[in-house]
Amino acid sequence: MNFAFTDFYAFLRGPGFVISVLVFAAGFIYRSAVMIRATRKIRKQSFNLENYKWNGHVQTKGPLFHRIIFIFKNKIRNTIFGTNPVIGIISLIFHILLFITPVFLSAHNIIADLTIGLSLPALPEQLTDIFTILLLSMGGFFLSRRIFIPRVRIISTSRDYMILLFVMAPFFSGFLAYHQFFNYRAVIFTHMVIGEIAIMIIPFTSLAHMPFILFSRFYIDSEHNITAGRRTW
């Protein structure tokens, strides 16, 4: 039993993780290729854009701080932060925590250091513990939103609930494992298996919005682009 445990644990810690990252990378590249195939290069404009520029809406006078605020307000007016700031801020914090909590977790970095001798800076354990609780409560918020708000419920399918479950399960099991609730071995196995499955399914499910957003905000031209895009649908 003990032998089997260490064997499986070693697999999940080493090759299992590498496989999941490779599957993720392959899926990411495949999705990116599809995205490039689905879009086309923007045709050269035959007119001089400068003639059509209208700067009437940009405040050019007044203190710099006011001007910055004005530009910022104009920029976000029709975005999620303008129309629904509460959801906007909650989902922004959710996505930031979703990234920094597992990447800068001290336990993960200790494992990385022991395995390959490299590690990233680690956040204090108490802080990541708070982050996890925050993430779980925000997951609960998204779930209740999906159940109780009619406009979200009408477009929700079983797929959405499954995805939310897959995103929250590694954090929940990680929380249980850190506090050593229940059977530690069972919990840590579940944590590692679900975590690796979650990494693998990112490009193939609606979690594909992770690679998609990079393209849609930086590469494909649209009104809310961060940089000028080169391609269009």
């Binding site: 599809v34 989902s91 406009r151 477009i155 609606s206 594909a208 919005h209 998609f212």
Partner: protein, 138 residues
């Protein structure tokens, strides 16, 4: 006047279905990608003036319109019954004016998808009719 039996028929003319398939094939990557990347967050609803001015009726949510128009057409490869096409017509013409003001946090191009659904419907002979009296005379 169109025959009632003909109205409910799911068999389309070879030419029509061919042109529908052609559009679907051309836009396949975009539709597939957009439908799979959509997380069904319904944040697009806030930016839709039709949604806001119709007592926040959930069927006016842009994502709902996309999923139930082009999403359905894509899944069944355009082979929907006329009754289903009529429902789609209401969604993409009566409930959407294609003002292109919808905002998707992920960056999906909702207007492109609705425009694609409109293209397919036009190929099928379904389009916006402004004069109900004129329609009944046909």
């Amino acid at each position: 006047m169109v025959d009632k039996h003909q109205m409910n028929s799911i068999i389309t003319d070879a030419e029509k279905s061919h042109s529908i398939e052609k559009i679907l094939q051309k836009k396949k990557d975009m539709i597939k990608l957009s439908l799979s990347a959509c997380v069904h967050c319904s944040i697009c609803a806030d930016s839709c003036f039709m949604f806001n001015s119709n007592k926040k009726d959930p069927t006016y949510t842009p994502a709902y319109k996309v999923i139930n128009s082009i999403g359905k057409i894509y899944k069944k490869k355009g082979k929907l019954s006329d009754a289903e096409y009529e429902k789609i017509k209401i969604l993409i013409w009566d409930k959407c004016v294609l003002c292109m003001r919808c905002y998707c946090p992920i960056g999906l191009s909702i207007p492109s998808l609705i425009a694609c659904a409109r293209n397919i419907c036009r190929e099928k002979g379904i389009y916006r009719t402004y004069d109900p009296a004129g329609e009944s005379e046909q």
